[in-house]
Subunit: 208 residues, 2 copies
DNA sequence: CACTTGATGGTATGTTTGTACCATAAAAGA
DNA sequence: TCTTTTATGGTACAAACATACCATCAAGTG
């Protein structure tokens, strides 16, 4: 046999080229050739590792979904660590961290969220993409928020009449909407961040 | 001359075919041929009325933007009328009407919002679509909401410490996010509506 | 009645796309 | 050493696309 290459690494390299292409020219403009050029390989190689274009798109989407989970978990982890290893983090800080993940700040997160959104919209009309793992991440986050909000309410940090489930739905929708408006260039990331903080300030009473 | 046709009507007819095609197969899959077939005319006719595909897409987008304005204004008008011709409508009802416009209920509004969203996302990467009237409608709505919220606060219907501008931003983002989640099939229209109502219930005190 | 002009159909063309096919170098196993 | 398998390149091909071109019919105008 020849070089005996690490397949997963090669696939990841090609997928990254696809994501770059999708972010700069749009997911609809992604072509086997443009991906190959972006990855610095021949079209034949892309075929070799992904057989068909549809499978390439599928694989890229799965990678995005995995990354989304990692991103959110990392954000939460940072907050947990920042509060010191012994103290439990305040629910408000954890919730803020999760919500702010949806706001694209640097170029890297902008790219990520743009392509993620392109996929989400595409999945509505494309049967091959439909019913994919797009729903898992949001559902997971919703359950997580409900738990945090419930804890906060029982600790007396919010209005006792607050409905944790409804509030989680609204928070998630607001952060998604704010992130989208930043992508569309309607708002700056700072404005979106300020809006999230304002809203959380109204939701949470000062502890004690 | 021949039949002497109403150009605007013909153009509207073709654009409607484009919107249907975009809603069912995705904006990226829209082709001169599919539009022509959908409109029941020859490809040559589409060329005749819109010259190039880019101009066709542009014209359809403009039509969407105009419709969006009409939709919102109609919603507000309904609320104003429902309260009786002499009484001023309660800000809460007006705000609710505006926000619920973003939630797709029947098939017609689902089609409309889906294509609108497809255009919005496309405009991020497509230079021909960039910097278009997408921003006008949201800005207008934001100003409108700020005015309503300010009036409500001054009438004592909300917490006096409420920041009308920040609150408007959050409300707009939440309704956009909820509408999107309905399009993506994550939530039902009823759930989204309930979330909007819940949030407004917390924002507005009962008048008096 | 001739003629111009608006509205339409059909077809040709050049380009781009995804994919299939053919070839080959190189390493490992017999 | 011969053969099989892995990784790669190049090219060919049919389909689809946007667009340009050529033709025709009908309705008003002179």
């Amino acid at each position: 046999m020849p070089k005996l290459v690490d397949h997963e690494e090669r696939r990841a390299h090609i997928i990254d080229a696809l994501l770059r292409a999708a972010a700069s020219d749009g997911l609809h403009a992604v072509t086997m050739r443009s991906v190959a050029i972006g990855a610095g390989v021949s079209v034949r190689l892309v075929q070799y590792y992904f057989d068909t274009k549809e499978q390439l798109l599928l694989a890229a989407m799965e990678r995005l979904a995995v990354r989304m989970g990692e991103r959110v978990r990392r954000r939460v982890g940072e907050r947990v660590g920042a509060a010191g290893s012994s103290t439990a983090p305040r629910p408000r800080d954890v919730v803020e961290a999760v919500l702010l993940e949806a706001v694209p700040t640097d170029e890297e997160s902008r790219t990520f969220h743009l392509v993620y959104t392109e996929y989400a919209v595409l999945s509505v009309t494309d049967p091959a993409l439909a019913g994919q793992r797009f729903l898992a991440a949001p559902d997971e986050m919703e359950a997580f928020l409900v738990a945090q909000l419930t804890a906060a309410r029982e600790a007396g940090d919010t209005d006792p009449r607050m409905d944790a489930r409804q509030e989680a739905v609204v928070l998630l929708a607001a952060s998604a909407g704010l992130g989208l408006s930043v992508l569309l260039g309607q708002r700056t990331a700072d404005d979106a961040t300020a809006a999230v903080r304002y809203h959380l300030g109204r939701l949470f009473h000062p502890a004690r």
